[in-house]
């Protein structure tokens, strides 16, 4: 038991957990991107987002991780599923994939990835000199309603407008001749 305990160090466990979470993330991402059936894609997205939430936990913010689960998985993904149900008859045949296009997309993706990694590894990242250690949700809430008040309200307004816009767009679409 002791040996097992010594074998399974907390550090080691954390490492394994991290690798596992990253694996989940990428597996989800791959499922979200590759299969042709959209429903699988959404499920993949859900898996991926869950993994991202785990990464957020590793980055020291369980609050944001929870919000991620709540908003992304709980709201956005569900609404996407709704949209799929509304728009695409599942019994229709799936569109075929065209190889040149996939190749091109892969090429561009690779170029972007290379560019990004170049930037990442060529930049000398300097941490700030004075770093506070206050990660509490209380401080976060205080900041949101004091220093970032304006941004907070702006984002609320954006959301409101987006919801109204969504209603208007689908409303017009219903009236349009088709």
């Amino acid at each position: 038991m002791n040996s097992v305990q010594s074998l399974i160090q907390p550090q080691f466990l954390a490492q394994v957990g991290f690798v596992g979470i990253v694996a989940i993330t990428f597996a989800g991402a791959l499922i979200a991107v590759f299969p042709r059936d959209i429903l699988y894609n959404v499920l993949g997205l859900i898996v991926c987002l869950t993994g991202v939430a785990g990464i957020f936990v590793y980055l020291g913010s369980p609050f944001v991780a929870l919000m991620e689960l709540l908003i992304y998985v709980g709201a956005i993904c569900i609404s996407i599923i709704f949209a799929i149900m509304l728009s695409r008859p599942l019994h229709l045949s799936l569109p075929k994939r065209r190889l040149p296009k996939v190749g091109l997309a892969m090429g561009v993706g690779a170029v972007v990835f290379i560019a990004l990694s170049t930037i990442i590894f060529r930049t000398a990242w300097e941490p700030a000199l004075m770093r506070s250690n206050d990660w509490s949700v209380t401080t976060l809430g205080k900041y949101l309603l004091t220093r970032y008040d304006l941004v907070f309200e702006a984002i609320s307004l954006v959301l409101l407008v987006a919801i109204l816009g969504a209603i208007v767009i689908s409303g017009y679409a219903r009236r349009s001749p088709s």
Binding site: F26, V33, V52, F56, S61, A75, M106
Partner: protein, 102 residues
């Protein structure tokens, strides 16, 4: 292992996958999903900077929250557009939506 580079690298990979998805998918919803991936990569970046570099660890979290808000707004709009496009074209295949073709 648990360093800034790891997280940035993960984010970059996720972002590239998103880009690949956006380019390769034919259905609008598939593209939307890929865009969500890209947005998530961006928030991972913010959270990583927040964790390793920023003087005040609150800022990055707030950014991540805002990105979620933006993503929600974007999803709402995009989905309504998709529904509208589907009503009009009886399809959400992006390659059919080419009325501007020269």
């Amino acid at each position: 292992m648990n360093s800034l580079y790891t997280y940035l690298f993960i984010a970059a990979l996720l972002f590239s996958l998103g880009i690949f998805g956006v380019f390769q998918r034919r259905s609008l919803i598939g593209m939307l999903i890929a865009i969500e991936l890209m947005l998530n990569a961006a928030s991972i970046n913010f959270m990583a900077f927040n964790r390793f570099l920023a003087p005040d660890p609150i800022v990055g979290q707030i950014y991540a929250l805002f990105i979620m808000g933006i993503a929600a707004a974007e999803a709402a709009i995009a989905l309504s557009i998709i529904v509208a496009v589907f009503r009009r074209l009886r399809s959400i295949n992006i390659e059919r939506a080419q009325e501007l073709r020269g």
